[in-house]
Amino acid sequence: MQSGDKGHLDGMFNDFEYEPRPELWDRIESNSVAQEGNLAPVFAGYEYTPNSRVWRAIANQLQSNRKWKAFVWWSVAAGITLLVSLGALLRPGQRVDAVKEGKSSKWANRDDDKRSDRDLVSKVEGVRASGPQNLITDIHHDQNNHAIPCHTTPSKDVYPRQNQYSYDQFQSVAQNSLSDRDDTLASEELMQTGLASRTPDLLKMESKIEISDLSYVDFTDIKEEPTGLKTRLGSNYSPLASAGPSSSLEAGAFQSLNSGTGSLDAGSNALGNEEVFQTPVSISFALQWYLNGRWSILPGLNYSRLRSEAKGADGINGELHRYTRDYLGVMVGLQYDIIQKARYRFYATGDLQYDIGLRIKDNYKTFVDGQAILQNTITGPLGNQAGASGGLGLCYRISKRIGIYGQGTVTNYFYQSEYNLWSARPYWLNVQVGISLSL
């Protein structure tokens, strides 16, 4: 090779660049780690005895955690006991408002075509004096617009579950007996079912039938309905005249006053329309204990509100019924964290829940030519229920211990003393939002 050729390529590669493969850096880095991570052996045997105060602080913390946990468990247990006891005491059917003494003369007037008012009042009051006062909770009407105070259907609480007859059969017999207004027939039919003699509650129901079959009241002069709840009704207006006998607003209204059975479907039947349910929303507070890295248990309280609506046929002349049910529940949830991040977690949940019925609130409006001419708001006690639910949720941690969560669940109520959304739509989605406190 000549020396002149040597300098020929000189400077040719000065600006030469070649993009290295991306994985090259990873190789350099991993080699680097192999080198740089080698300080580990230097500290392998390094120990430093901590001051004894560290263990004292840890032990104190452990003890106080234990006391706090015990306190919370006892509180939860006491709360559940209290709520269950209250629930048992406030069972529907036992708390339905009584017909108030001295009010009967206001709602019972003479009807010359039918039986004597005085007879009716004395009979009603006679029964009232001798038996429980929570029997008259409903009103039926005959074809001449005469209101019949009665207790058409016993609640599911009253109906014995172990009975060989289905609740529907029983209800049907009771309903027919009442509408026939034949006390002998009513008693006979009930006796034929064999139900009447089974429980004291059913014997009470016989008394109710007796009352209903003997009672005739001119509805147009009712100022106050039997439960003592005020009815804003114009003195000369009879809604039955406009609504017609088969679609009586009052039938719906007063049916819902009974111990709850059929309160929602009574409304919808009265209107002949499907009831429109709103998604139930619950607000909750729960304590959370992690059993291990993923599983946690959450006892807590929640408040649920169910709402539904049924409308009349054309929206101008007709009725609008709004039903509200409020529950306070005690729940115990078991959660599994599917995704855990620093700020949030996505989880699957299974809950057991016992709901204390707080209140029924039903609002009825009658419209004529688009104007509400009659409005009636009825409140009353609500039965309890117990169920199990499952679903998915998302919890956002706003601090180390406190999280805000929202979950969608489907609930199956295995014990339910009231007809409501969850009876009509067992797989309806419930939305639950709340705060969790991690312990």
Binding site: Q35, E36, G37, A40, V42, Y48, V54, A59, Q61
Partner: protein, 183 residues
């Protein structure tokens, strides 16, 4: 007492077993906390929080590895949490040019004892100290460090590079002082 007995006792909430486990592992874990802390008090706080987490979460120890390694992992996480919570380290997020050392840690720190090195590491600012510990001692790579501390890979490299510079300077100063005394 075996590790299994300790674990079962702790799961039952026995204070005696918890104390036993603490006595067995505390000195080693305190050594780890000292590397991450700026002072002994800080290290004690880290140790306390770390052991509380250990007792709280011992049910999640699957038993596949060594209990000591699991506790060490919990302790490092606990130290990082402590530093984050007390806002001890302020990472510089700007991208800096990182110099790559051909010289290994071994040659730089070979003549130092663990105690000497510990003293120097403790003098580092919290951010540098944390990254240096995670990279040079725990053996994490910069990607892992970035993910754990919520910083970029470049920031992690930058922090590590600076910590090395500072440590090298400390060693040189130390060596110069020693030579001066000998003379």
């Amino acid at each position: 007492m075996t590790d299994n007995e300790l674990i079962n006792g702790c799961l039952e909430g026995s204070l005696r077993h918890q104390r036993e486990l603490y006595n067995h592992y505390a000195p080693k874990m305190m050594g780890i906390c000292m590397r991450y802390a700026g002072s002994e008090e800080e290290a004690e706080d880290m140790l306390q929080e770390g052991f509380l987490t250990v007792f709280h979460r011992i049910g999640s120890f699957a038993g596949r590895g060594e209990l000591g390694a699991w506790i060490r992992k919990v302790m490092v996480n606990s130290a990082l949490m402590y530093l984050r919570k007390t806002k001890k380290f302020q990472m510089q997020t700007e991208l800096e040019e990182v110099d790559f050392f051909l010289e290994s840690n071994e040659s730089l720190f070979s003549h130092l004892s663990a105690a000497d090195l510990m003293q120097m590491i403790q003098c580092l600012p919290a951010g540098y100290r944390t990254v240096f510990n995670l990279y040079a001692v725990e053996g994490w790579n910069h990607r892992e460090i970035g993910e754990k501390l919520g910083i970029s890979i470049s920031t992690s490299k930058s922090q590590y590079s600076r910590s090395r510079k500072i440590l090298r300077k400390m060693i040189e100063t130390e060596a110069a002082n020693s030579n001066a005394i000998r003379r």
